[in-house]
């Protein structure tokens, strides 16, 4: 079954030298429980596409379907993990999640349980009353993930969430994400410019070039659970890196 379908999405911005086309007539499908990654160079419009799905940015043309029904952008249960944690510094980890729960219209009696559950699931059970400044970069990003999952999303939007973390922290975060994803059954729309990350995480990878055109889509031919250092995975990674850079050159 299809969870998310983007049909003919076009987005233009008013640039200094006239209108700037970010992407035009873009189609994308994400299946139920599928982990799809959009790969592309910086500035290709990946983040704009995520924001358009979330309803934060308006599309010029194009429609979005969710669960087979046409919907307004953002009018379906989704969670968003940003590139930076985007936590409210003046609220504790628990209160940051409560903010999202309230925003999503989750009943107040449910808040405590959900906050406890999700902080525990991201390994931050003891940090509920900590302010973001008291947490490390990796911990903050995990609060961001807990916040996105706590609202009970059927689709998780993730915008290079691990790009600012060190290699070891990012690796653990990816492992944690795969476990949570397997448990929740949510579909994931992931964005990155890191081929290794795309290969270890995704079911399918969609490649965008600098003009915002999709030029390749591949299914990752590896079973789960995946061993991140599996030579077969490394080989796929090398192959896709070649495809990617040949197009960009």
């Amino acid at each position: 079954m299809t969870r998310l379908r983007i049909n003919g999405a076009t987005k233009r911005f008013e640039g200094v030298d006239g209108p700037l086309t970010v992407f035009e007539g873009l189609d994308l499908v994400i299946g139920d429980g599928e982990f799809v990654t959009v790969m592309g160079p910086s500035g290709c419009g990946k983040t704009t596409l995520l924001n358009a799905v979330a309803g934060v940015v308006d599309l010029d043309t194009g429609t979005i379907e969710f669960g087979g029904e046409p919907v307004e952008p953002g009018a379906f249960p989704f969670g968003y993990v940003f590139q930076e944690p985007r936590l409210l510094e003046w609220r504790t980890a628990g209160q940051n999640i409560a903010f999202a729960l309230e925003a999503a219209g989750v009943d107040a009696s449910e808040h405590d349980r959900r906050i406890r559950t999700w902080l525990e699931r991201v390994g931050l059970a003891d940090e509920r009353d900590s302010y973001p400044r008291q947490l490390s970069g990796g911990q903050r990003q995990r609060v961001g993930l807990a916040r996105a999952l706590a609202v009970g999303p059927e689709l998780l939007l993730m915008d290079e969430p691990f790009s600012s973390l060190d290699a070891v922290t990012a690796r653990n975060a990816r492992r944690n994400l795969l476990d949570l994803w397997a448990d929740t059954g949510a579909s994931v729309f992931f964005v990155t410019h890191d081929v290794h990350e795309a290969v270890v995480l995704s079911d399918r990878i969609v490649f965008m070039n600098g003009d915002g055109d999709v030029f390749e889509a591949v299914t990752v031919p590896h079973d789960r659970p995946r061993e991140f250092d599996d030579p077969a995975l490394r080989e796929t990674e090398a192959e896709l890196t070649r495809t990617f850079f040949e197009e960009l050159e």
Binding site: Y80, F82, F99, R133
Partner: protein
């Protein structure tokens, strides 16, 4: 006493108890005053004892002006003028910051208001409303003070992290929730800054307005003593108001610190970890 009462009592104490830095800074001002006064005749610049004597005279009703009526009138005008200024500047500043097109339209009138001299407002007030006890001073205070505060609030809106507003929007937060939890905490230091400036400037303007068109207030007493060459009494009437405004300012500062408690808590623990 229950622990809840106890906690409330303690938090009230932390707001009102003097801090060492405050004590030292007040003592420095007093010592400087005393030192400075030794270079002048008591008529031009009275020493602390003379001044204290004069203030006592003022407060005990030893002059032709009743202290409660005069201070009461000035405090009431300052309070209302300051309150209106805060209200208008918050609305205007937020409106300018929230929509850039609105900001462009509203910045013209704002800068016109900023350039009108306070004396002109005082005369205009008297011409428009006549010699009124309340309306003219409040009119002057509000029209002079609120444009300054608007600039502070407007600047504050520029510091709001848009990515957090986007986050709130993505999670579907209502406009009210976004203002309360995202904008307001970021705007709070600027609002407190505006309040502190506003309070200090409001009372000065209230006095100017009183000198021009009023029969009561500290300004009237000051004007009388100036005209009768009682320099010591001119200062003596100002001192209690200065003390009052200073106290209000310290109180605001304390409340501000309490509102930003999360900052110090966060740093304290960070310090303990490092």
């Amino acid at each position: 006493m229950s622990t809840d009462d106890d906690r409330r009592f303690r938090s009230l104490r932390t707001i009102t108890a003097p801090r060492p830095a405050t004590v030292v800074s007040v003592l420095t001002v007093l010592a400087g005053w005393q030192l400075f006064s030794t270079f002048f005749s008591p008529y031009r610049f009275p020493g602390l004892w003379t001044l204290a004597g004069n203030v006592t005279t003022v407060l005990s009703g030893g002059t032709r002006f009743d202290p409660f009526t005069q201070f009461g009138a000035t405090v009431a005008r300052v309070a209302v003028g300051f309150g209106l200024s805060m209200m208008f500047s918050t609305i205007w500043g937020v409106a300018m910051g929230a929509r850039s097109t609105l900001g462009e339209y509203l910045s013209g009138p704002l800068f016109v208001l900023l350039t009108v001299p306070s004396v002109v407002w005082a005369f205009v007030g008297v011409i428009w409303f006549g010699l009124t006890e309340f309306l003219v001073p409040v009119f002057v205070v509000t029209l002079v003070v609120f444009p300054y505060l608007t600039v502070v609030v407007w600047e504050g809106m520029g510091d709001v992290d848009e990515s957090l507003v986007e986050m709130a929007e993505a999670f579907g937060a209502s406009t009210a929730a976004t203002w309360r939890y995202v904008y307001l905490p970021q705007l709070r230091p600027h609002l407190f800054g505006a309040a502190r400036i506003g309070l200090a400037v409001s009372w000065k303007l209230a006095l100017v307005a009183e000198v021009f068109g009023s029969a009561t207030g500290v300004g009237v007493a000051v004007k009388h003593h100036f005209e009768t060459f009682e320099n010591g009494m001119v200062l003596a009437w100002a001192v209690p108001m200065m003390a009052l405004i200073y106290g209000a300012d310290r109180l605001l500062r304390r409340v501000e610190r309490r509102a930003a408690r999360w900052k110090s808590e966060a740093t304290e623990r960070q310090g303990a970890l490092e």
